[in-house]
Amino acid sequence: MIYMDHYRTTPVSPEVKRAMEPFWSEQFYLPVSFTRMGTDTAEVLDNAKARVLTSLGLSQGEVIFTGGGTAANNLVIHGLMRDADLSQSSLVSTQIDHPSITTPLEFYRKKGAKVSLLKVDGEGLLDPDRLKENLSPQTRLVALTWVNHTIGSVQDISSLVKMIREVDDKIPVLLDATMAVNSMDIDMRDLGVDYLTLSAHKIYGPKGMGAIVAPRKGGLKPTLFGAVSESVYWPGGENIPGIVGLSVALEQAQQRTDKYSNHTLTIREALMKALEREIPDIVLNGPRGEKRVSDNVNYSFRFIEGESVMMFLDFENIVVATGSACASSDLKVNYILSAIGRDHEMAHGSLRITPGWSNSLDEVEPLVETLKPIVERLRAQSTIKK
């Protein structure tokens, strides 16, 4: 099988799996004070937090473990907005941010807040001047995503944050680093963001685990309520195996970002070259070169629809993703491809191919050789002709 859908999810790495193993059935107790079993677990939890902070260049700060990246983004947004006067609140993000950011923002728009989802250019990049124009004393949040999850565009986060800080040092900045953790060396001392969010299952960790990392404590209001445990923001029994898994996955990812980038970049470049050589009428979605992340390839295949392509590849044991509305659970046209100016036909005919650790350069040729006749055949039977 050729698995090139690592942006959907990744397998748990053997090291992460091993690190999680003791906490299922052996050391299964929760961090209960004044008991030996409990304090042992509390120590495991503290170590996991320290591992998360250190991996991101921090010696202190707050780590909130959540039930995934979506929950992490939601907790930051709702935590900032809970007591805000919505008529006096402005929230800023981009048109191509993840639904876990744009949908909560849309929720506050309906409730009366001013929400600006900023336009990006044809490559999915945000112009710092456009961001600047949309900041005001009422800005309660700027939410940015480092690496886009569909088209792999890499925002110039340091310039964007520097500009925000020049305008107003107090504006809370949320950075979704989910798709950046594998390939970018992250040092939160330099980044200057208030909240960084990530998801474990995109970095060879377990599903259902995410985290919010903040250099300074406080700032957020709790939005989930219950028996307070390790964190006031995520009450209830702690997911110890998940927390350990996330911390080890993050540590591993950050230790080998160079190796990962080189590995995936080699595959990306070979894949793009072969696709552009072998298959006519394809259009790259997202930037070329350094503004594109190393592990993302996304093309629109003209005149055909992506679900059909994806399924024919699946028959041949090749796993990729499509932006076609037909294959999406809500039948909506892909909003990111629309935002960068692709029409419906182009969006429906898009494939996202995302290599990862499990892939090798040897897989590029069979993938392209399999894809080529599929595209030719579907084009021959399509109502849309060149």
């Binding site: 005149f303 055909i304 629809e305 679900e307 059909s308 399924m311 024919f312 028959f315 076609s324 509305a325 037909c326 294959a327 659970s329 809500d330 039948l331 909506k332 046209v333 029409d343 419906h344 036909e345 429906h348 039977q381 399509s382 109502t383 849309i384």
Partner: protein, 217 residues
């Protein structure tokens, strides 16, 4: 979450569709749907002695679009034109062993393509006009082509359309369609249903303006 899966029959017709291609000098031909809504089908017919002697299709769309094009053309081939007109999307879906509700609209499109090709044949060769007065009952029939993807049922039979008014010649705003449709806030297909309503109504030349309101009952 429901896993969306195709039957073996659908996969068979998707992998090796029957009757694919364009017929030369067809007696009737039509293209329905649009790339904007994600699927489009063209149907070509040859008619001899009032029977569909040959039929073919082209498809821009997903697996179910291709499979329904294949099965509908199979079903129509050799049938008297009058019988082919009576084929329904349910016939196509049954023949395929079922379709996921989210894909039922593809079968509606394929049958629509067949009917449009037959109408094209009838108007070109038999001089039969298919023009119908555009009124509320006509619009309700058109809206029967909009399938709610979660239910796999059209929005009229699913009783989602609560109000429809069309203003004709002599009314205050000729060409205005006012429609109220009941869709829950949690309905993931809210957006899709509204888009489909717009696409179907906008295709009617007499419709100038659409005022669609979502209501929750």
């Amino acid at each position: 979450m429901a896993v969306i899966k195709y039957t073996d029959k659908v996969l068979e017709h998707f992998k090796n569709p029957h009757n694919v291609g364009e017929l030369e000098n067809p007696d009737g031909a039509a293209t329905v749907g649009s790339p904007a809504c994600g699927d489009q089908v063209s149907v070509f017919l040859k008619v001899e002695n009032d029977k569909i002697q040959d039929i073919s299709f082209l498809s821009y769309g997903c697996a179910s679009n291709i499979a329904t094009g294949s099965i509908v053309t199979d079903l129509a081939k050799g049938l008297p034109v009058e019988d082919a007109k009576k084929l329904t999307w349910k016939d196509a879906v049954d023949k395929l062993g079922g379709l996921p509700p989210v894909k039922v609209h593809c079968s509606v499109l394929a049958v629509d393509g067949l009917r449009a090709a037959i109408q094209d044949y009838e108007s070109k060769h038999l001089g039969i006009s298919h023009e119908r007065a555009v009124d509320e009952s006509f619009l309700l029939d058109e809206l029967k082509k909009v399938i709610h993807p979660g239910l796999g049922v059209n929005i009229i039979d699913a009783k989602l359309v609560k109000y429809l008014r069309f203003q004709g010649e002599g009314d205050e705003k000729p060409g205005l369609v006012e429609i109220e449709i009941s869709l829950e806030e949690t309905d993931p297909y809210r957006h899709n249903v509204l888009e489909e309503i717009h696409e179907h109504l906008e295709a009617i030349p007499q419709v100038q303006e659409i005022d669609a309101k979502v209501v929750e009952y």
